[in-house]
Symmetry: C2
DNA sequence: GTTAAATTTGACATGAGTGTCAATCATGCG
DNA sequence: CGCATGATTGACACTCATGTCAAATTTAAC
């Protein structure tokens, strides 16, 4: 196995993710990726074949990070705290450096329409939904809706959040809206 | 006032809107706009100065159309019917030719960050919110939340809808989720 | 009909970005 | 040690898009 990869793949993927996250899939060029990472364009083509494969490799780390954060946020035993915390985490996540949400950016990006990318996005959303179902199931009796439906509503709200954040730039208002939704979902008295 | 505009501005704006709507602001070039409309690139620069002004002119028609549809959808006297109809309209609107939502595309588009564009987006969302408040206010007693908060939740849900539509391509599921939200918002027994 | 204002047109110079490829270089393995 | 394997590098040939401008053209108004 001679002729070994010279660049640090960890570093490359971290740099590529930062770039994709900030600018989106379509708006990020191989040229930029090369500059941002210090790896020559030719090497990137040689190693990954093109932008899409590199994107998917970088996106995998994004997925993992977000899902991990969601798990942590959902851990508290009190359901209201857990759900409110999930939204707080999401809001903080996208507002770091005002970078927004890569999943949403990619979902909206018409040029990111390859089957592999679409599959990754679907995967991410269904993972999120699954975590919610898992968290909600034991507390089903506290909910005003069937577990699956409640999870769907929460997932959709996280996406709406991301869009409204871009338009309004008002995290307190986002959190208040999220908490109102949580209040509606739970049977006990509302806030 | 000699040397009068040769092209039909109505037609141009309609063509430009179609292009922007499909591909988004950043991904649409002046070149494409010229080809799609049959108006020379130079004429477009002369008439509008650049892409941003042309976009805003085209977006105005988009705004009007959507708001008009929302008004029609919200007209029915039964609140549940009105809100469910609003979501049905929104889902149908974005699914026509699978074109998605131009407001959301633009909100997510990092290259569409000029103050004028951002202001137009904010305007559109606050117009939607205002229509909702207007419709909800007389029926405030039927709601589980304060009018403003309920309107916010509905607005955010329309944005989430748009994103989920791109990922799941499942309008029935979107409508079911929307109806579940409406059920939560209304005090009477749920579906 | 002439004039003058404004639009249209095609060309120009420039800058990004693309994907490929042959030559060069590094290194693990026999 | 040498070599084959595979990575790196820089260049090449393209395509697309940009914004500007002078020349040509159109037409309302006098």
């Amino acid at each position: 196995m001679a002729g070994v990869r010279q660049f640090d793949e960890e570093r490359l993927l971290a740099d590529a993710l930062a770039q994709f996250w900030r600018k989106g899939f379509a708006a990020t060029s191989m040229q930029e990726l090369a500059q941002a990472s210090g790896v020559q364009r030719g090497s990137l083509y040689n190693a990954y074949g093109g932008k899409e494969a590199l994107f998917i490799a970088a996106y995998r780390r994004y997925q993992a990070r977000y899902i991990e954060g969601v798990q942590r946020a959902l851990a508290p035993p009190d359901l209201r705290v857990a759900l409110s915390g999930l939204f707080a985490f999401s809001i903080g996540y996208i507002r770091t450096d005002r970078r927004g949400c890569l999943t949403t950016k990619t979902a909206i990006d018409e040029e990111a329409g390859s089957p592999a990318i679409r599959a990754a996005l679907r995967q991410q959303m269904s993972d999120l939904q699954a975590l919610l179902v898992e968290r909600l199931a034991p507390a089903a009796s506290e909910l005003r809706l069937p577990v699956e439906m409640a999870a769907d509503l929460i997932v959709t709200h996280t996406r709406g959040l991301v869009v409204m954040e871009r338009i309004q730039d008002d995290p307190a208002r986002l959190q208040a809206g999220a908490d109102a939704l949580v209040g509606l979902l739970l049977k006990e008295a509302q806030v």
